[in-house]
Amino acid sequence: MDIFLQSLVSGLLIGGLYAIIGIGMTLIMGVLKIINLAHGQILMVAMYITWVLWNFLGIDPYLSIFITIPLVFVFAEGLSKYLLHPLIEKDSILPENQVLMTVGIGMVLVELARSIFTSDYRSIQTSYTEKSLYIGKISLSFPLVIAFIIAIFLTIGLFYLLSKTDLGRSIRATSQDKFSATLMGISAGKITILTYGLGSALDAAAGSLLLPVYYLYPDVGPLFTVKAFVITILGGLGSTVGAIAGGLVLGIAETFGATYISSGYRDATGLVIFLIVLVFFPGGLKRFTKV
């Protein structure tokens, strides 16, 4: 029982980070109507930035979100403005081409990271990396708890933005009906570019928060793209609340897989869950969240 609860709680904590990765992906999907196959690679970029900041400047990984978020936001806006957006403007080019572009961006980022940082595994050792908190017999990894709390604040902030501000409403409006949004005086182009930046910024936050508890190497990128994809499908494609559910489910599934099968099967369990959901609940978990 203790092991069960322990896995559940650990899964939930990592799931909180997966949730913000999934929300970022979902936002991009909603507005750009594409699956962002560079999502994990952007997270990897944020992890490397965080690593450099810690290693060379001694900046705490949690504080570094104040640097990675704006930096990645601007970087992703650039990608979107100069690489993705020009493809939308041409009517003759199919949305698939934008997806292919994200694949290309992803590959370039991975190889750039490899050439700058090599393929070595990196991790960071902070004073609190090994610390744990205890609730009864359950131990909680201190860095994960902090990360989870920050993830909750980011999620609340994002939901506030989306539901209570004109900018957020314009993003939702654009994802629901671009034509109508344009009639309301919203510049669909600007919103599209901005949304790619915003989705990537969330992703970047997750990257910084993950670094204290995760290994970093260039191929973390593709790995997390797959995870983000799984979370979004679990969440029912395009639902932000669904993405939260998807993130938590994936986090818990992975942890159970690691505990009860073998720690080598952590990532594989996630994929098995993914297949089960695809076969039995093709609409994802949206059915249960209704949002």
Binding site: S170, Q176, F179, L183, M184, I186
Partner: protein, 234 residues
Amino acid sequence: MFKVEKVNMSYGDLQVLWDVSFHVNEGEIVVLVGANGAGKSSVLKTISGLQQVSSGLIEYNGEDITKTDPAQIIKKGIVHVPEARRLFNEMTVEENLIMGSLHGEAKIKRKETMEKCYDLFPRLLERRKQAAGTLSGGEQQMVAVARGIMSLPKLLMLDEPSLGLAPVLVQDIFDIIKGIRKQGITVLLVEQNVQTTLRFCDRAYVLENGKITLDGTGKELLNNEHVREAYLGI
């Protein structure tokens, strides 16, 4: 106040508007009637900047607005309530209304205008937290018109507001349009409900295959041989 002069417009290679000219005076209700595919909606889309003219001039209060983009058009008070409502289905009624007031003056007066809308459509007040996509067709139309009003229009362009409504509701919508005009808003209306509209409008234009073929007061057109035959089936 508002005038369109010799406007030509194409979707790609397909030209759908040919030398379209008409004008709307301040305080008037002017209708554009025509068969399906005549180009009525295209006229409105061209005015609101969603489509670019290939040639011609659109002028508003003496200012050339031919190449102005949609965000600027709406700020000038030209507001387009599109065909088939086009609400933001997953947003609440209230949020849909807010979307009408993103800019300038409309944004400042958001609360005040919203209250006016609820006075005009008490039903929407009851449903203000409901997702727009789950409203009945008539209620959705009310939201579409109210969202237009939220933009503080000086010229309100309505594209088939009576589409798909029961006759009683159609009458309601027309009464509301009259009410809107009483508040000093000029109305450019696109309609298929030819008989009812011609009876209550000030002037009308007939659009056929992208060309204006007839114009006159509502009464004149109601008595016109061609209109009676082609649109009223008499």
